[in-house]
């Protein structure tokens, strides 16, 4: 009877927590070393990066095992190690790191997927001249991401957060000679900044109210009950509690990183970066950082929620997530760039996660995050392998019939695609998405999100089928003599494919191991989990939806291989909405027309002010000083110098007289000295006489 085991929160720190900081530190150190390497030292660089991350993986596994054993013995392990960074006044700013199921799981995922992607990159980037720089950035990114994961202080998290942003900027703009890449990098950086500003506001607010930024500090942490009470009492605008407001601000930051609806624009463009980067940053880790952030501050978001009820913050999260899911899926339908399609699907999946967090709680969202990390990384790397095989061709319409040319890639890609679509029972994606849908169904506020998510699922299945049939089926259009990728790329694909299937096992309703692990409850295997009311129906529904999407996609695109020139099937059917979708619903254009235009205007105004107003003032001052200087000069030349010269002449004449005595002969001086001595002695004796 495992229920008898009481899950007491265990707080103390163990050895592994003491050295937790090594996990991010080692890759960062490695990147520093690599940065010092010379360009041709490719092998060393790769070895360093992979070795450091492997080390982190081992540590992460140890930590995970520690947490797991604690959990098996019935403790909700939450070990923190905090220290004071600096102190002003009486408030001191604390940093620290935490080891609890959430961070443990995340650590393992990031290090594992990251390691696979590193290995993959050695093959993918083999011909790139800036190989070492690439690995320098990669491991710096990995370190930063791991830092985000282990941070126990919102401040520390924010630092690593910004570091992640920086590295993503560097990696997206890795081929900075391509103007599009440079632009994309800038765009990603600026867009995420918008979110981060709100995030920072939230941090400051939280610090102002609770006086600490530590998450958990044995009761004194900022998101532990005591502080939360204070936050709940305080009211802020729109009838929000301070907790809610801060939660929303933080969510803005998360939305920026995770490409939620208003701030999603950077993510598709980020595909300008090398494919491993896309896989690492824009599928597995960085975009997940936003979700992870929300999961981390979940108590804050949830604060004040009645049993089964929800809070404003969570509702907002849910709606944004759900909307993003559908919206991005819609756009994905009409894209032709293989990576863009995946990018939009990522956005929509992130929407799923957000919605899952908003409705179902940490476990639901995180589960989807983990599974998604695996199969989306798989998809991206498969896409990379395809692009590699087709000689940097990215347009799906110029591919086709690759299933015979690159079988491994095809099989793994198919697995990833099915997982993403949520193909029933077999694949991890199904279970995680199912959890979200279930949560959505029980959502108290409204049924809207549920229907939106179902629609999203349909669209997902549809566009993925479209892409796959474009890429792998039909006859090859363009991209002659496509070839399979090297093993260094295919092996990771295989491993990821395995996990894309296997991970589902830990999240089935029958055995919700993952959820109970995160929530710190005992996991029991009871088949009755399936026979919960409505669950079966839900599963059937989602399966049907998925089948519908697949079938629709296959009926429209399967095995017919249109030439790149002639219009898409849907386009010929409904040109106008197609054009809308193809042009990403003109979000970018809207931004260009509103925000950017405004900034341009404002810049011009500022420029005008500079030139006319401030410039004029400066000119006047300068003129005045010039006048003053003239006056001084006049005084100098006529008054000061005159007297000075005269005195100097006096001095030099006097010196001339004196210098007569300076014959330059030592002995003359000695004689003078001796005479002086004589005189002195005589005086002394005389005085003593008297």
């Amino acid at each position: 009877m495992q229920e008898t085991i009481s899950f007491t929160p265990q707080l103390g720190t163990s050895a592994i927590t003491g050295i937790l900081w090594l996990i991010p530190a080692v890759p960062i150190l490695a990147s520093g070393v690599i940065a010092l390497l010379k360009q041709p030292k490719r092998r060393t660089a790769a070895t360093l990066a992979i070795g450091s991350l492997a080390f982190s993986l081992i540590l992460a596994l140890i930590a995970f095992a520690h947490v797991l054993s604690g959990w098996a013995h019935g403790h909700a392990v939450r070990e923190t190690l905090n220290f004071t960074w600096f102190q002003f006044g009486r408030t001191n700013v604390d940093l620290g790191w935490v080891l609890d199921p959430l961070s443990a799981v995340m650590l393992v995922m990031v290090t594992f997927v990251g390691l696979l992607i590193f290995i993959y990159s050695t093959g993918y980037m083999a011909h790139d001249e800036n190989y070492t720089r690439f690995f320098c950035f990669l491991s710096l990114f990995a370190g930063a991401m791991l830092g985000v994961v282990i941070a126990n202080s919102l401040l520390l998290l924010f630092m690593f957060w910004e570091l992640v942003g920086l590295t993503s900027y560097l990696l997206i703009g890795f081929w900075y000679l391509k103007p599009s890449a440079a632009a994309a990098a800038k765009k990603a950086f600026l867009t995420t900044r918008v979110g981060d500003v709100f995030f920072l506001l939230g941090i400051v607010w939280l610090f102002g109210d609770t006086g600490t930024l530590l998450f958990y500090n044995s009761g004194a942490g900022s998101i532990e009950s005591h502080a939360l009470l204070g936050l709940l009492i305080e009211r802020s605008a729109f009838g929000l509690s301070a907790a809610g407001a801060i939660g929303l601000l933080i969510f803005a930051g998360a939305a920026g990183k995770s490409g939620q609806f208003p701030l999603h624009v950077w993510l598709p463009d980020a595909m300008e970066g090398p494919t491993p980067v896309s896989a690492l940053i824009h599928a597995a880790t960085m975009v997940a950082a936003g979700v992870y952030l929300i999961a981390r501050v979940y108590p804050l978001m949830q604060a004040g929620a009645l049993a089964g009820g929800t809070t404003t913050a969570l509702t907002v999260v849910t709606w944004v997530g759900a909307f993003t899911a559908v919206f991005a899926a819609l756009i994905a339908v009409a894209q032709n760039d293989i990576k863009r399609i995946l990018a939009y699907s990522t956005v929509s999946q992130l929407g799923y996660m957000m919605a899952g967090l908003g409705m179902g709680g940490v476990a639901v969202g995180m589960f989807h995050l983990i599974t998604h990390a695996f199969f989306k990384a798989l998809l991206f790397m498969g896409a990379g392998s395809v692009i590699h095989g087709c000689h940097e061709e990215q347009d799906v319409r110029r591919m086709g019939g690759l299933k015979s040319d690159m079988p491994v890639t095809f099989i793994t890609y198919a697995i990833g695609m099915l997982a993403l679509c949520g193909f029933p029972l077999l694949f991890s994606g199904f279970w995680s998405k199912d959890g979200i849908l279930e949560a959505a169904e029980h959502f108290s506020v409204s049924k809207g999100p549920f229907y939106m998510l179902v629609l999203g699922a349909l669209l997902t299945a549809f566009y993925m089928t479209r892409q796959v049939s474009y890429v792998f089926f039909g006859v090859n259009r363009g991209a002659k003599n496509a070839h399979e990728s090297p093993t260094s790329m295919t092996v990771p694909l295989g491993i990821l494919a395995f996990f894309a299937i296997a991970l589902g096992a830990v999240g089935t309703p029958a055995w919700p191991w993952f959820r109970s692990f995160l929530d710190g409850r005992a996991a029991t295997l009871e088949w009755s989990g399936f026979s919960e009311p409505g669950l079966a129906a839900l599963m059937v529904t989602s399966s049907l939806v998925v089948f519908l999407g697949l079938g629709l996609g296959w009926w429209l695109y399967g095995n017919r291989s249109p030439q790149p020139e002639d219009p898409d099937v849907l386009e010929s059917a409904a040109p106008v909405p197609w054009a809308w979708l193809r042009d990403r619903l003109y979000i970018d254009e809207v931004y260009t027309a509103t925000v950017i235009a405004f900034y341009g205007w404002w810049a011009r105004v500022a420029d005008w002010l500079d030139r006319r107003v401030w410039g004029g003032a400066v000119a006047v001052v300068a003129w005045a000083f010039g006048l003053w200087a003239q006056l001084n000069r006049f005084l100098d030349t006529n008054v000061v110098d005159g007297s000075f010269d005269k005195s100097c002449e006096e001095l030099s004449t006097g010196g001339g007289l004196l210098s007569r005595m300076q014959s330059g002969r030592v002995q003359t001086y000695l004689r003078l000295l001796a005479l002086a001595v004589v005189a002195l002695a005589a005086i002394l004796i005389w005085s003593s006489r008297a």
């Binding site: 004196l658 005595m661 002969r665």
Partner: protein, 103 residues
């Protein structure tokens, strides 16, 4: 007469002789020699005062003399080194010729 007086007189005489040498010889080395003599005279004074002073067991004068001997050695080394260097540049040790520093 008082033995101390005798020593002091000898010291004074040596000092005067050394000074005379330092003042009148034109060879830089001999000027240094004179200076050494003066130093020795001073040492003699110190020792004499130590010997006939009220507290010889304190060894003050003796110590002073020993230290001054050490310092004199250093002074001689550096001084002669300088003389050699000057000779290397000006090819003379004649002090009257070395009046480059005159004002």
């Amino acid at each position: 007469m008082n033995p101390l007086t005798g020593y002091l007189l000898v010291a004074a005489l040596l000092f005067a002789i050394g000074l005379a040498g330092a003042l009148t010889r034109r060879n830089a080395i001999l000027v240094l020699v004179g200076i050494e003599l003066m130093l020795n005279a001073a040492n003699l004074n110190l020792i004499a005062f130590w010997r006939y002073g009220p507290h010889p067991e304190l060894l003050t004068g003796m110590m002073f003399a020993i230290f001054s001997i050490a310092v004199a050695a250093a002074e001689a080394a550096v001084g002669l080194g300088l003389v050699i260097q000057i000779h290397r540049h000006a090819h003379t040790t004649d002090l009257d010729a070395m009046s480059r520093m005159k004002g």
